[in-house]
Symmetry: C2
Subunit: 419 residues, 2 copies
């Protein structure tokens, strides 16, 4: 028997109904915030991703040569593609550009809970502006996406990479040492940073300051403990606008330091604590990337949501409710009523109802069992008497209640009754 | 500058709005017909596709080895994956199973008009039954998808592969010769078939009969010229049910002979003549496939629609109409009104409107120009006077008409006006 590839998944109709509901809720939020959808290719020249994330990412990607011997990679993320699209085709569009995407990404790693080799992301990029309200707008979009996806328990943490970055660059004049320190901060490798302090490369005062800043986590009042700087003022303004947007429970977290090379200012993450170790459902921040791809530098702020984890987290809180897939299942009692039944089902569908009909010429009891197993709200039974009266017997599959309804009225009878 | 890979595309917001509208219309039809969505992996063991389509397809696929040295392929089609999913996980589900999918497929060929290396398909598979009404149901689903996608000019052609197949198998007792003849019919290589007749392998009477059957194309009345057989009775019944489903313009075409190994009964195609040489937007038929993947044989009927071609064909008829992406663009006249403006935009969004706000602290005239360039229906202007009166100035971007509206009422004023 041929199996699906390791680390990938198949999704059946019941699961897809839930996933599409979550996805659609997030798409609706993107539209409400004025973001327009973009779609980019599933594979790109692998250079696109190594330029953004470094050569190390090669080992985590599905890489293949095309017949022209060009190295391609299945995309591990979509931000790089969106910015590449911006550079090649949209750089002269009116700014700001507000773009979002929904797509599959690929990562060659060992499958484990919440991590798959093919996974799904929804993300947004706001291109061409760098005001605090820009960052707040993107955070607000993210929070509204997560909220409208149905999640109740989540934590928004917002930091600013410029605070540690400018501190290190001011205090360490030797560029190589500064870069080395930043790399260790980026990896959150505090032990290695301590070694640098022990080896007297890093002054005690600076080491203490770095670790104390990275430790600042908590309510917005934590910002008052920071020295005044462009970065702290920027961060304070972000929290002010978030409040005007009705978001007053975002946390300060200056320990968010990943991607120092890449992110330039605000960084933020959203966690769903119920997911345990793999609790992060979203990561983002402000960055510049276009110049790496041969474009003019342009400020951008964006994020990516792990749709799989949002669905997992949402289901952990409560089952995602979806409509029954089928409003009506039409059953001809005998062969003579078959044609009449096809007319009925066609009419129900033309009225916008989700309707099905016996296609296997089965007995009444087998048909009723099938209607029940696929979750039809009603069985629409057509026998000899019903046909003679231009009627049907409408059976509520939940209560078992049956009534005779004129064929002309069965659609509105079903539409009017909400299961 | 890094380019997108050859033969692939980027889609911007204006194009995606149209594509999603077409896609959603077709999804709605699938749901009305009782089909549920499935999603399968983007790559599969390449064996899955060679088992269905033969080794020849290797050259047309993107193939790569994973780190366990297993040969994978980006899917060239999705039917094989759906049936593989059926075999591994759904074979005991109540029958019939009605499944549909929307996804990207990959084909390594020279890019040309309407053919891309990454392209998009919507398809359906009805698994577990083989009655004529099953085939009619699938054809009706296809026709309704194409119709609701917005296409007006299209031709539905329905044939039956069993007619030629059983004729050849009855008349030619030597199995190898029969297979050879069928292969030539499959390739529509009438010259080579003529050579077999010239070489006296194929009797004149049979040769004439094959070509005359393959030539049968036209209205449903063409079926009356056929000898009675199980296949012709089956085909007649399909057309009868189609009529009950309100589809009375489907054509008979016994020349549809591709995939003789694969299809077992009814075959059908839909063309959009406006597309010229690449006019086929849909192909399908009834088949058995599960036994190739290690499952029990099961009858299935399905089709795949080329979404790219449907969008092209639809646009060739008339521009696909979509809603303006933005209902309102909020502009603070001065810095003092900025916070007030954020409150306004947040409220408009919470009322379900698509709303945006100045994030670049621009002048009024630049903001109005931007609002116009992104196609906002209204500009919502907040100046000192407006703020004092808890109001805004609502400007219709089409007519230029302005009026003072209470902040509490601007949402309903915009919602009530349809651009």
């Amino acid at each position: 028997m041929i199996q699906r590839p390791r680390g990938t998944r198949d999704f059946g109709p019941a699961e897809m109904a839930k996933r599409r509901k979550v996805e659609q809720a997030m798409r609706d939020v993107c539209h409400r915030f004025g973001f327009g959808e973009v779609v980019t290719p599933t594979f790109e020249h692998s250079e696109l991703f190594t330029l953004r994330s470094g050569q190390g990412i090669i080992d985590e990607m599905y890489v293949f040569k095309d017949k022209g011997d060009r190295e391609m990679a299945l995309r591990p993320e979509i931000t790089a593609s969106v910015i590449r699209f911006y550079v090649t085709d949209m750089s002269t569009s009116p700014k700001p550009l507000k773009l979002y995407y929904v797509g599959n990404c690929f990562r060659y790693e060992n499958p484990q809970s919440g991590r798959y080799r093919e996974f799904f992301q929804l993300g947004a990029e706001l291109i061409g502006t760098k005001t605090p309200e820009t960052d707040a707008e993107v955070i607000a979009l993210a929070v509204n996406c997560i909220r409208d996806a149905g999640l109740e328990n989540f934590v928004v943490r917002v930091g600013h990479i410029g605070i540690l970055k400018s501190l290190v660059r001011e205090q360490i004049k030797d560029e190589q040492t500064a870069a080395e320190v930043l790399r260790k901060i980026d990896k959150e490798d505090w032990d290695a940073l301590g070694d640098m302090f022990d080896a007297k490369v890093l002054p005690r005062q600076l080491f203490d300051k770095i670790t104390s800043i990275a430790d600042i986590k908590g309510g917005v009042e934590e910002l008052n403990n920071l020295e005044d700087s462009e970065s702290t003022r920027h961060l304070k303004e972000i929290f002010e606008v978030l409040k005007l947007y009705g978001i007053d429970d975002a946390q300060v977290d200056l320990g968010i330091v990943r991607g120092l090379d890449y992110y330039s200012g605000m960084v933020f993450e959203i966690d769903a604590p119920r997911l345990g170790a793999e609790k992060q459902v979203l990561g983002g921040g402000s960055y510049t990337l276009s110049e790496l791809f041969g474009g003019e530098p342009v400020f951008s702020t964006g994020f990516a949501i792990g749709i799989d984890r949002v669905v997992l987290a949402s289901e952990a809180e409560r089952e995602i409710q979806v409509e029954p897939p089928l409003d009506a299942y039409v059953i001809p009692a005998k062969d003579d009523m078959r044609k009449y039944a096809f007319g009925i089902v066609a009419r129900l569908r033309s009225q916008g109802l989700n309707a099905d009909v016996d296609l296997m010429r089965r007995t009444m009891s087998k048909n009723l069992k099938y209607a029940s197993s696929v979750g039809a709200r009603f069985a629409v039974i057509v026998g000899k008497d019903e046909m003679a009266k231009r009627s049907v017997t409408l059976r509520d599959m939940k209560t078992g209640k049956q009534e005779l309804v004129l064929a002309d009225e069965v659609g509105s009878a079903i539409a009017g009754s909400h299961g």
